[in-house]
């Protein structure tokens, strides 16, 4: 059987990067939450904040480890699978990734050690400082990686010499046209995702009538944040979309399954884009809806897919459906946040069981929205790897399709084991809840972050629980 090496390489990268993005998304948001909890604990002197911080720190440790190891893989895949990309774009993108390592990874790794293992060994102020540094590190990391990715979407500040992108203006490269929108959208997505997990865990405890103090604190904090960030995300998404229309109009045409420039700019709530026939089947549409969103005029025109030959179009179905999944989740988030805020204002939040049940089961929606969003933007960039500079098909390494296929299979198996175990252990930590001691014994030696959980596991076993 013959494999298409480009397709296998794309599948491999899509798989490893999708797996990876789950964890940074969560840990960017969670690290900020933990730092906030520690600050509140220090300001108010209440034990519940400290307990919550330690509870989430254990979950953070597991998630962060999975993010780190899957991230190291990506740093090398540019070379192993996309060696032509690393030559053509390396002079421009390489330094952005290099600066990510220098400014973020070392900062995170160092203070993570203190954050996780410093309880009882370092002063509380240093503990707090370390948690803040980790949170700051995740934002710096986001900054650089989004700068690199945005440059691939909307390259600027370079010139092409002998087919290779050579840097001219670093400011223009980093702050390329789509960067500010994508950075804000992604960072906000990370905070939203973590807030939904916190909200869901809080609701789960209230429903189970466990840890009521901590659960209420979690839900209140999450709803406050969501009520601001969820509507903000819709606004940021809209601005990002307008920016994409300006710089990557064909991506927008694919998202909207819009074939003819002169055709009506309907928003298709549902459709089955037929890429062979260049039309939509079974369309349920809001007349002029897309025109209104994209041009802010009812009869505004925007570029259709037929403006470019089929080989220059991305997969319409992928961009179209992934976008709708993201949008639906975004609207759900806004609704859930506003309803929650209203219930909280009325003082009935913790008694409204239908609401608690819905949000307790919604912990995963942020992750799906993030993956769907990345699918839109990355698949929508096709057939280009670097927009109008390098085609994906021209970027692969001179390695055999069999090598890539076998390694893909190994990634699937090993990530499958790691992911399953990670989710299982995180779920167990959540089931156990934040009931441990507020301050771990000051052993004066490196302690493990998970030792309390470990103890509890043993206790549970010993007592036959």
């Amino acid at each position: 059987m013959e494999f298409d090496p480009v397709l296998i390489a794309r599948l491999q990268f899509a798989f490893t990067v999708t797996f990876h993005i789950i964890f940074p998304t969560f840990t960017i948001g969670l690290s900020a939450y933990i730092a906030t909890l520690l600050v509140m604990g220090m300001v108010t002197g209440r034990e519940r904040y400290q307990r919550l911080a330690q509870f989430w720190t254990r979950i953070f440790a597991v998630s962060f480890a999975m993010g780190v190891v899957s991230g190291v893989v990506l740093a090398y895949q540019f070379g192993t699978n996309w060696s032509r990309f690393s030559v053509v774009a390396g002079n421009v993108i390489g330094p952005l990734i290099g600066y990510e390592t220098l400014t973020a990874f070392f900062l995170e790794a160092t203070f993570l050690g203190v954050m996780l293992f410093g309880w009882g060994r370092v002063p509380a102020a240093l503990q707090l400082f370390s948690a803040i540094m980790v949170a700051v590190g995740t934002v710096i990391s986001t900054f650089w990686i989004i700068a690199a990715n945005s440059w691939m979407q909307t390259p600027d500040g370079h010139q092409i010499v002998d087919g290779i992108a050579v840097p001219l203006d670093w400011w223009a490269i980093i702050f390329n046209p789509s960067f500010p929108y994508r950075f804000a959208h992604m960072l906000n997505a990370a905070y939203l995702t973590a807030a939904f997990v916190v909200l869901a865990v809080g609701a789960r405890y209230i429903l189970a009538e466990r840890h009521p103090d901590q659960a209420r604190t979690m839900m209140r904090m999450a709803i406050w944040l969501l009520a601001i960030l969820a509507p903000l995300q819709i606004l940021l998404g809209d601005l990002h979309g307008l920016n994409t229309l300006k710089h990557q109009p064909i991506k927008i045409a694919a998202i909207e399954a819009h074939w003819d420039t002169s055709g009506p700019g309907n928003f298709h709530v549902f459709a089955w884009p037929d890429e062979e026939a260049e039309l939509n089947r079974f369309a349920i549409s809001i007349p002029q809806g897309a025109s209104l969103i994209l041009t802010h005029r009812l009869n505004g025109q925007f570029l259709g897919l037929k403006e470019v030959p089929p080989q220059d179009r991305p997969s319409v179905k992928t961009a179209f459906f992934a976008f709708r999944i993201m949008l639906a989740i975004g609207l759900f988030m806004v609704t859930a946040a506003l309803v929650g805020a209203w219930l909280m204002w009325r003082g009935v939040l913790f008694e409204t069981r239908w609401y608690l049940r819905i949000v307790a089961n919604s912990w995963w929606i942020g992750f799906v929205a993030v993956i769907a969003g990345w699918l839109v933007t990355e698949s929508g960039r096709q057939p280009w790897l670097v927009h109008r500079i390098l085609r994906t098909a021209d970027a692969v390494s001179p390695v055999t399709a069999a090598s890539v296929a076998i390694s893909l299979a190994l990634f699937v198996v090993i990530y499958g084991i790691v992911f399953t175990a990670g989710i299982y252990y995180i779920n167990r930590l959540i089931t156990r809840g934040p009931q441990g001691r507020a301050v771990e014994p000051s052993a004066g030696v490196p302690t493990r972050p998970l030792s309390a959980a470990h103890d509890a596991g043993r206790e549970a076993l010993a007592s036959g629980g």
Binding site: V68, G98, T110, Y425, R448, H454
Partner: protein, 334 residues
């Protein structure tokens, strides 16, 4: 005289790789040594001695790979496809091993599985790195700036020798770290293991030193042509003296010196390899100047690197100082 940017970058990449080999070397070595330890509490003690540090240690791998890409895309884009199999195997091994650090503390029934992942992952990562090193010394076939060989060109007896040598070397570093950072039965056993491993490592170093000049004319010429030989003879001598110092320190019950001597031994071996290969980044064809990124890229990255490297070394001192002192059996969770 203009600044020789590629030369400076070669030094920086060299520094990052050396830092990685020493720092992750000892924690990978401890992963391997877990396989020779049966008592659970002793395994925990060993893992605790590196738990707050391994993530930072592994970051040097990202820096090494990243710096190679930034400064020498011509080399990065050839080396990675050439060593596709060992690089991917190493990454998968590091995935397994990295999560095992967290999972083994959470698992009740599955703890032995994650210990196995930690042991196997550490050993496999060390072997892959050794194989890549051996493969690089052998040289890579390049045509038109791209890798032109097969998936297993690297797999030779010489690469196998280097793989085992690096495995032994990392394990020596790990044992010396345990001598420094633990006490009781773990430290006593590590001291004995370190002595054995020191002899094994010396044997591998000798084998590579004999093999390379015999097999590769360019390396023989580098070392034995006059006047080079007059400058270079102290390198093997210093290696022998360092090994002797390490042995004696282990014998006399010293705790710090064996680790420092093991590091020095690594650095001398590394120096020997640099002497053999320089100025080629990818022997036999690609020099550091040919593989270089554009000056604008190297300049932009150099400014930040020179400013940030001292801070990063500061982090290193900070975290090792915070977690100074011995880790004892049963500490913190019994």
């Amino acid at each position: 005289m203009p600044i020789d940017l590629p030369l400076i970058w070669a030094a920086i990449v060299g520094l990052a790789v050396a830092m990685y080999v020493i720092l992750d070397g000892f924690d990978l070595g401890i992963g391997v040594l877990l396989g020779l330890t049966e008592r659970a509490s002793e395994r925990d003690q060993m893992v605790n001695s590196i738990a707050p540090l391994w993530d930072g240690n592994e970051t040097w791998l990202v820096l090494g790979g990243g710096a190679l890409w930034v400064a020498f895309p011509g080399a990065y884009s050839v080396i990675m496809p050439a060593f596709y199999v060992p690089v991917i195997a190493m990454l998968l091994a590091l995935v397994f091993r990295g999560v095992a650090f967290e999972f083994r503390g959470l698992a009740v029934a599955g703890k032995s599985f994650w210990d196995f992942a930690l042991i196997g992952g550490s050993a496999l990562a060390a072997l892959c790195q050794g194989a890549i090193l051996g493969g690089l010394i052998q040289g890579i076939r390049i045509e038109n700036g791209a890798y032109a060989g097969g998936a297993f060109d690297w797999a030779t007896p010489f690469a196998a020798l280097c793989a085992l040598g690096v495995l032994a070397g990392y394990t020596l570093l790990g044992a010396a770290w345990l001598v420094l950072k633990t006490d009781g039965a773990v430290a006593a056993r590590a001291r004995g293991q370190a002595k054995m491993l020191l002899l094994v490592v010396l044997a591998f170093m000798a084998a590579v030193s004999v093999w390379t000049p015999l097999a590769f004319e360019r390396i023989a010429e580098r070392w034995f042509a006059t006047p080079n030989i007059f400058y270079l003879w102290p390198v093997p001598l210093a290696t022998a003296l360092t090994a002797f110092a390490c042995w004696r320190a282990l014998d006399r019950g010293h705790e710090v010196t064996p680790f420092l001597a093991a590091i020095a031994l690594f650095l001398l071996g590394y120096l020997g390899l640099v002497i053999s290969v320089f100025p080629y980044l990818v022997p036999p064809d690609l020099t550091i100047w040919q593989a270089s990124a554009t000056p604008a890229t190297q300049e932009f990255m150099l400014v930040g690197t020179l400013a940030l490297l001292p801070i990063i070394l500061g982090y290193l001192v900070f975290v090792y100082w915070i977690f100074r002192g011995k880790v004892r059996e049963g500490d913190s969770y019994h």
